[in-house]
């Protein structure tokens, strides 16, 4: 279980896992060597609401950094999740076909999207945000969204 940074904005609680890196758009990357597990953040999943369907690029798909690695259909929108890392999809979360709600229930755990074999992880890693930086960015995004309510 990772540790979390946590903030409350309006009535919502948002968490950021401290063991991984982030994009400003709300995707996370957790590396194990050159294999990088990716998913969407707690803020991004709460922003978009209950997930109806999750379509992850199938195994063997080559994905460039920033390209769509998954499309998530929620009750509010279709969300294209940009990959925080370039490489080849070696595993798409099989549980999401039957239980896409895992993305809402456990975005940093059971709700992961895919594992990629990174083509140049050190290069991608340098472009990502550490948990503290993403946390500060996300708080601003959350407060902006709260003002729209």
């Amino acid at each position: 279980m990772p540790d979390y940074l946590e903030t409350t904005v309006d009535k919502f609680i948002f968490r950021v896992a401290t063991d991984r890196l982030y994009t400003a758009e709300g995707a996370w990357a957790l590396a194990d060597g050159d294999r990088v597990r990716v998913g969407m953040t707690d803020f991004l999943q709460q922003l978009n609401g209950d997930v109806a369907f999750a379509e992850v690029k199938p195994e063997g798909t080559a994905v460039a950094t920033g390209d769509e690695v998954a499309t998530i259909e929620t009750i509010k929108a279709n969300v294209e999740v940009p990959s925080p890392v370039g490489g080849t999809v070696v595993e798409a979360n099989p549980a999401l076909a039957m239980s896409p709600e895992a993305i809402n229930q456990d975005p940093y755990g059971e709700g992961w999207l895919a594992v990629l074999e990174a083509s140049d992880w050190p290069k991608d890693r340098d472009t990502l945000l550490d948990p503290g930086a993403y946390f500060e960015l996300m708080k601003g995004q959350a407060e902006e969204e709260a003002q729209k309510l």
Binding site: G49, D50, A52, F53, I75, P100, E101, N104
Partner: protein
């Protein structure tokens, strides 16, 4: 048991301004006005939220089928908070997951997919209502 006593209450979520909330309400209207008008009654969630005595008494006296548009499940929670019994909770999203071709869009006016999804939800509720009514009519429950 009189028809009035056999009534099943349908309680849709409010979900004002939200597509799935609109599906929820449209489904409730279809069940109570068209599919099973004789054996169902509609309770507005807002009355339960306001603590309306008549609405609270109704949900305490009859089984309720709730329809919720999101995981907050306001309708199911308010029926329970009001002392009622949720005989069956229906989540619009679950019905949509089983009918992906019926993608709902629109709020004030649903698209065709939304209308068809509302119909699918209504059909599921009608089946639940039939089960509940036949259960109450069975000798063991007389």
């Amino acid at each position: 048991m009189s028809p009035e006593e056999r009534k099943v209450l349908v309680v849709p979520c409010s979900g004002i301004g939200k597509t799935y909330g609109t599906v929820s309400r449209e489904a409730a209207y279809e069940v109570t006005e068209d599919l099973r008008p004789g054996s169902t009654g509609l309770v507005a969630l807002s009355l339960l939220v306001l603590g309306d005595e008549e609405a609270r008494a109704a949900v305490q006296a009859h089984p309720a089928v709730t329809i919720d548009g999101c995981k907050l499940a306001c309708a199911a929670k308010m029926v329970q908070e009001s002392g009622g019994h949720v005989a069956q909770g229906i989540a619009v999203l679950d019905v949509y997951r089983r009918n992906r071709e019926l993608k709902p869009q629109g709020i004030a006016e649903l698209n065709q997919g939304g209308q068809q999804l509302a119909h699918a939800v209504a059909e599921e509720i009608a089946a639940v209502v039939d089960d509940l009514v036949s259960c109450e009519e069975a000798p063991d429950h007389a």
